[in-house]
């Protein structure tokens, strides 16, 4: 007698679907990294990744450097700042906030390096994020920071670097060469010797 071809085994399909749904949920959970406690802590500013500098310092050889964007901004002092106008100098740009503990720890290092390179073709510029000017200026008084900072509460400067070498955490320090290209990036706290060597190399035009 004729037999029908074997039709789908429904039980199998049902189990497979359940497994699939389960896998999907798990994968979603896995891939988004698990937002522990994030929902109840809407402004968890401390949740940003602060990582030790030694692992996150990157030097770009002269041939493979991205051009820094032509950012402009207003300094805490009220003056206008244009990155493009700094061509010819090695620019050390530090993204910081007074609330950020690693920024407070690295501030003396940046302050003394700025003094060390005074008179050389190096310009230090800060980019202060998420602070009001009064708070930022209090920080500068505490750490005797003599170089200027852009007043950038909305992080427009960080956004301008979107297509080149975006800062991925606060603090981030960029070293920009004389031609306006990004030569190095340090994510997290800088060390005195490490950043001094980086600036020295860029200043000397080393690759």
């Amino acid at each position: 007698m004729t037999r029908l071809p074997r039709f789908a085994r429904t039980a199998w399909v049902a189990t497979a679907t359940t497994a699939l749904a389960g896998a999907g949920i798990l994968l979603l959970a896995a891939c988004d990294g698990g937002a522990i406690g994030a929902a109840n802590d809407p402004g968890n500013t401390s949740g940003q990744s602060f990582v030790s500098a030694s692992y996150n310092s990157k030097f770009f050889a002269p041939g493979s450097r991205e051009l820094a964007p032509a950012v402009t901004g207003t300094l805490l002092t009220g003056q206008h700042f244009s990155l493009k106008a700094e061509r010819g100098y090695v620019v050390v740009m530090n993204f910081w906030g007074s609330w950020c503990a690693p920024c407070r720890q690295e501030a003396p290092v940046l302050g003394s390096l700025a003094t060390h390179f005074q008179g050389k073709d190096v310009r230090f510029i800060g980019d202060n994020v998420l602070d009001e000017p009064a708070t930022a200026e209090a920080f500068e008084r505490t750490f005797n920071i003599s170089y200027p900072s852009i007043n950038d509460p909305g992080e427009q400067v960080a956004l301008a670097f979107h297509n080149s070498v975006p800062p991925s955490a606060i603090p981030t320090t960029l070293v920009i060469d004389r031609t306006g290209h990004i030569a190095a990036r340090v994510v997290g706290e800088v060390s005195y010797d490490g950043l001094k060597a980086l600036i020295g190399d860029v200043l000397a035009g080393k690759s």
Binding site: L4, A35, N44, A160
Partner: protein, 536 residues
Amino acid sequence: MTAGVAGVAAAGTTGNGKAKFGPVAWLRWTWRQLTSMRTALVLLFLLALASIPGSVLPQQGIDPGAVTDYYAAHPALAPILAKLSGFDVFGAPWFAAIYLLLFLSLAGCVIPRAYRLAKSSRQPPPKAPRHLSRLPQATSFAAAGTPDEALGSATSLLRARRFRLRTGDGWVSAEKGYLHEVGNLLFHLSLLGLLASVALGGLFGYKADKLLVTGDSFANTPTALDVFHPGRLVTATDLQPFSITMTNFKASYITSGTQRGEPASFSAELRYSSQYGGPQHRYDLQVNHPLNVDGAQVFLIGHGYAPTFKVTDGTGHVVLNQAVPFIPFEESGLSSDGVIKVPDAKPEPLGFTGEFLPTAYETITGTVGSEFPAAGLPRVILVGYEGNLQLNNGQPQSVYSLNTSLMHRIDYPIKLLAPGQSIVLPHGLGKLTFTGYKQWASLAITYDPGQYPALISALGALAGLILSFLVRRRRIFVRVSDGENGTNVELGGLTRSDAAGGFEAEFTELTAEFERELGQPAPAEPELVPAQSKGE
């Protein structure tokens, strides 16, 4: 198992011999094992098991500070765990191996099935069996005309009913309900689509949260986001480069009745641009009415108050002059707590913990609270500390908690402050003024390129499932032969497990129509053979 050169040769030339289990046979066996149901379940279980260390151990991507603490607490164990990706479980090679095998297992099961279903949906009906009376549904009757005429009218009748036909010598078989197979196929292909969509979202999507105070702005860049969960292949340059400024936030509440204090509506007035220096647009952001910028969706998920303070330190400098977001800890009055840190105050750093009460009350016994979520009578109450905030040691800390272990309580009378009122701190520590309040909104930013493909796939799977449940595949066979009273017509019917029922009725109806159409020879009585049911 004695797979040698001969085994390779045999497998290579003749495929699989039972005795010679060559590499090809091994591969085939492995594939069959991998794509089996049991393996899929084991892999699923393993995946659940493998994610446990991810919740037990601190994870680099979520809480780098906790990882550093773990290193300090377990100096011997931590490097070993780091080698085993213990601090990055969801990015570990072994974790990836499990879910890739699971994907492979599911795809390997679904693809061949889809192929078989596609083939089966194009198959012509089988030949009519010799003895139709053995089928679950069967009947026979005598018809007028020659067998060929009877067969002809039977064929056209079945064709009119849109059966797929196959004819032979004295028989015709007809089949209907191929949509069952189409539905099945759609279901399986949709499952594959769902797999791909989930992968797409997991690799290229991201989620982020941002708390934004009225008047402030932020850029969609990792440093500006409070919480950022990128997909596996997302880097900072992949984020849609928009900026958002919140110009106003409005919340209204039910003011009377039993629902007094429940939120009636929220709306955040935004100005946004989709790129650095781009043109500004306006958007009225409301709950469940997200803003879409280049595929990224911005949801309004929460709100609260940010009282504004001005702190002048002992040296006369203004060391803080800004809004400080407080987090609500109860719904009915939106009483919120928060922390003010003034690390750069001289002579001593200052810290305050306290509450913001939108519509404050104070009982005779001194208990304070808020009776309504709107800011009808905004008050703050603050406890002050001076000393080391421990912010300068490089360890990240939450802006919502104050570590007072190295601080001293400042002695001043604790009372509710109205906007404009100040606390003058003793010992020349300075002065704090409660200058007013702003509102904040918390925004969730999500980008999931797999969202719509997943929705379409899920709908497809559902449609396919419904189709395959509702439509059943059924066959009708007709055999004609010379009989005593003209032509003898035999009818047989067959269906697969008839969950929905109704095939018997359809068959009876069809039989009646056949008899009407094919006509009966005038003199003889119709001889109906009762339907024989088999195994029912």
